[in-house]
């Protein structure tokens, strides 16, 4: 049935958009450093909570400062932006604490896997201490979404309006990022470092600054993603970011580590693949993502759009 197919496509696109956002965060850092930042999921959660507070939400009874909140709520676009910046700033902090010392010492790059995970654990649990584990719904009025219809009917298939918004904003963020990488000076510098760090330094590019920029941007992406997710499904404890983080890994590999268009395509493909699973087998959905991941790694490690890694002899 065309209806079912369209609905499936729509479902796939909706979740795929978020996956792409998460994968992009990983991609940026991987492309310049060659390591995975396991604190990414925690930054996702942070972005969600920051957006909530910036919209004027109050801390609940289980938090450290019950009832505290900002005196006024900011408009949605501003809250998202500031929350993203906040997450980006914390991302920079993570770089300073979990990555830089190891790089300076020339330690094995895989060690930063561990330290970034530790950073993630610390961050998530600090969030828990501060905000408590209860659910937080974004203040309705500030979101200004109450006036829109709850769901849209597109040719026989239904999609929640907020998902469309999510998709639109993610697409905008991704497009801006791609444009920036393509056109701007610092974007080109980042691509240069990703290609070959030594040559880039020889050409006068400050690779330390580029690395920091990568962390800032990736933190901002995570923060934005968390805020968007919070809008769509409300916040339910700081752990929600972690599961997105894990799925994002699968997308990252599928699209090709280090490839920006790969992250986008990978996200959409993953979303679609999951939407195609019949409901009887929905328990296997998580396994699908990782089975894809496994198969890609074994058959074509460079992923869909990644560059083939040549073994330097």
């Amino acid at each position: 049935m065309i209806d079912t197919l369209l609905q499936t496509l729509l479902n796939g696109a909706a979740s795929g958009g978020v996956y792409a956002l998460v994968a992009l965060g990983y991609t940026l850092i991987f492309s310049v450093l060659g390591v995975i930042n396991f604190a990414q999921g925690a930054l996702f959660s942070l972005g969600g909570y920051l957006t909530y507070l910036l919209l004027g939400g109050k801390i609940g009874v289980n938090g450290a400062l019950p009832g505290w909140g900002l005196p006024i709520g900011l408009p949605l676009w501003l809250a998202l932006l500031l929350a993203a910046l906040g997450s980006g700033a914390v991302g920079l902090l993570v770089e300073r604490v979990a990555f830089a010392p190891l790089r300076r010492r020339g330690a094995e790059p895989l060690l930063s896997l561990i330290t970034s995970l530790g950073a993630g654990v610390v961050l998530v649990n600090l969030l828990q201490l501060l905000m408590g584990a209860e659910g937080y719904a974004f203040p309705q009025a500030a979101a200004g979404l109450a006036k829109l219809p709850e769901s849209l009917l597109l040719g026989g298939a239904r999609i929640r309006t907020i998902q469309v918004l999510l998709l639109a904003i993610s697409a905008l963020a991704v497009a801006s990022l791609s444009l920036w990488l393509e056109r701007s000076r610092s974007g080109k510098a980042m691509r240069a470092v990703a290609e070959d760090p030594t040559t880039a330094t020889l050409l006068g590019i400050n690779s330390v600054a580029v690395v920091r920029l990568a962390f800032l941007l990736s933190g901002m992406l995570a923060g934005l993603g968390g805020g968007l997710i919070g809008m769509s499904v409300s916040l339910a404890g700081p752990y929600f970011g972690i599961s997105y983080g894990l799925k994002g890994l699968a997308v990252l590999v599928l699209g090709g580590l280090g490839s920006v268009p790969g992250a986008i395509v990978g996200g959409l493909v993953m979303g679609l693949a999951e939407a195609l699973i019949p409901s009887e087998a929905s328990g296997w959905r998580d396994a699908l993502a990782f089975a894809i991941l496994f198969a890609v790694l074994v058959l074509r490690p460079s992923g869909l759009l990644g560059r083939r890694q040549l073994e330097k002899v």
């Binding site: 209806d3 079912t4 609905q7 479902n11 909706a14 979740s15 978020v18 009874v61 289980n62 009832g67 828990q128 408590g132 584990a133 209860e134 659910g135 937080y136 719904a137 309705q140 709850e150 769901s151 298939a157 239904r158 999609i159 929640r160 309006t161 907020i162 998902q163 997710i229 769509s232 499904v233 409300s234 339910a236 404890g237 752990y239 929600f240 599961s243 999951e274 939407a275 699973i277 409901s279 009887e280 929905s282 328990g283 959905r285 998580d286």
Partner: protein
């Protein structure tokens, strides 16, 4: 002495090997010492000190993703303690809390810690899944356990020391379905959602489906979700294609709340019945104004007009900015109350005189099972196997206020069940 290969003793490799052998010996020694120090100095054989207070242990999920329930339970127990201690009582009772987290090893560790500290009884753990792991340990050591809200099948049957104040889901679940069918007798098409990676929800949905079958309804769609899911576009659109008139959900607060909200946003207008995992005000922030009209069967209603429940409501409101208590907190209060009152009864008739801790625990268990209690849940007592017997159950409908931020479980039906119904 030269080693193999003719290497000199000061060669780094040999030195390292010797060093690791020495370190290994040191570690082995340390482990042996710890094993010796940590062997069960089981306090069960000690005589009770008549002057000292008896200690209750509470092992609750204070961290991890079950801590929403654990925090409610901590609240309930704390309020009960305050209220009961304020009345004259012959034996002092102290309370020790340990974090059982949300996984089995932590629950086991919490139980072990409390038992070693010489508690006379345990309250907890929070999750049914944890109970299956930790309760056998309490049973083996002869420590009474009163579970505030483990509702899976088979828990009191773990042993003679295991009991619970939370009625089994098979008793409560049918009530909400019946209420929904009473409101819309023409219902034919039912869709079922359940969190398939949650032990509790999987058991509960089996009961829901059995009830539906008994009413002649076969689900047109059964969707399996995961606890960690929060986006249900896929299963919802698949289910809605079958045009259900009634949706039955077995999940926990967060995923269930999101499911309800998204069902409504995607245009579903029929009735929604939910299970015990959503039996908490924690769903309000998640499904907000979309929670309206959801039906749930409960073992507790805040509207019960007994002195103990009025006191519970008052104390809860004072501690929580005027909010109404939910079932989890009420059951936790009840668990504490039951043990406390049993202790006082035994003390009054001198039943603890000259006993060791182990014997006192046995006495307490016997008394616990034979008593009747007037609790916020209503009047309850126990079956010999530790299962609670509760006469009255409730069906509630969620009603949200105008802002969509606060709501209440509105009592719509009270049901007396004849005692002895399994």
């Amino acid at each position: 002495m030269l080693r193999s290969g003719g290497l000199s003793p000061t060669d780094p490799l040999v030195a390292r090997r010797r060093g690791s052998a020495r370190l290994a010996a040191a570690v082995a020694g340390a482990l042996a010492l710890l094993a010796f120090l940590g062997r069960s100095s089981d306090p069960a054989a000690q005589r009770l000190n008549p002057e000292a207070p008896l200690t209750l242990g509470a092992a609750l999920a204070l961290t991890g993703n079950a801590n929403l329930y654990g925090q409610d339970q901590r609240m309930g127990i704390g309020l009960a303690q305050g209220w009961l201690q304020g009345q004259p009582h012959p034996r002092r009772v102290a309370l020790q809390r340990e974090d059982g987290a949300s996984d089995e090893p932590s629950a086991i560790a919490a139980f072990n810690l409390l038992i070693r500290r010489g508690v006379i009884a345990l309250i907890g753990p929070t999750l049914s899944q944890q109970a299956f792991a930790a309760d056998p340990i309490a049973q083996r050591q002869g420590v009474p356990v009163v579970a505030p809200s483990n509702t899976a099948k088979g828990i009191p049957q773990i042993g003679s020391f295991i009991s619970r104040v939370s009625a089994q889901s098979s008793v409560i679940a049918p009530l909400s379905i019946d209420e929904a069918l009473r409101r819309e007798p023409a219902t034919r098409r039912v869709a079922v959602f359940f969190a398939q990676d949650d032990a509790y929800s999987t058991a509960e949905t089996a009961i829901f489906q059995k009830v539906l079958a008994a009413r002649g309804l076969k689900p047109v769609s059964i969707q399996r979700t995961q606890l960690a899911d929060n986006d249900f576009q896929n299963p919802i659109t698949a289910a809605l294609q079958q045009r259900p008139q009634l949706v039955v959900i077995s999940a926990q607060a967060v995923d269930g709340g999101n499911l309800i909200r998204q069902l409504r946003e995607l245009g579903y207008r029929g009735q929604i019945v939910v299970g015990n995992g959503l039996n908490t005000p924690n769903i309000y922030p998640i499904c907000q104004r979309w929670c309206n009209g959801v039906l749930i069967a409960q073992a507790y209603s805040p509207e019960l007009n007994t002195p103990v429940n009025l006191a519970f409501r008052r104390l809860f409101a004072e501690a929580n900015q005027g909010r109404t208590p939910g079932q989890i907190a009420a059951q936790a209060w009840t668990a504490y109350q039951v043990v406390f009152e049993a202790i006082q009864r035994v003390q009054k008739r001198g039943g603890f005189e000259g006993l060791t801790l182990g014997e006192a625990r046995q006495q307490l268990m016997k008394e616990l099972l034979s008593g009747r209690y007037d609790t916020p849940l209503g009047p309850i007592r126990f079956r010999p196997d530790g299962e609670v017997v509760q006469g009255r159950f409730y069906v509630a409908e969620v009603r949200m206020d105008a802002t969509g931020r606060n709501g209440r479980f509105n009592l719509v039906r009270e049901q007396e069940l004849p005692e002895g119904t399994p």
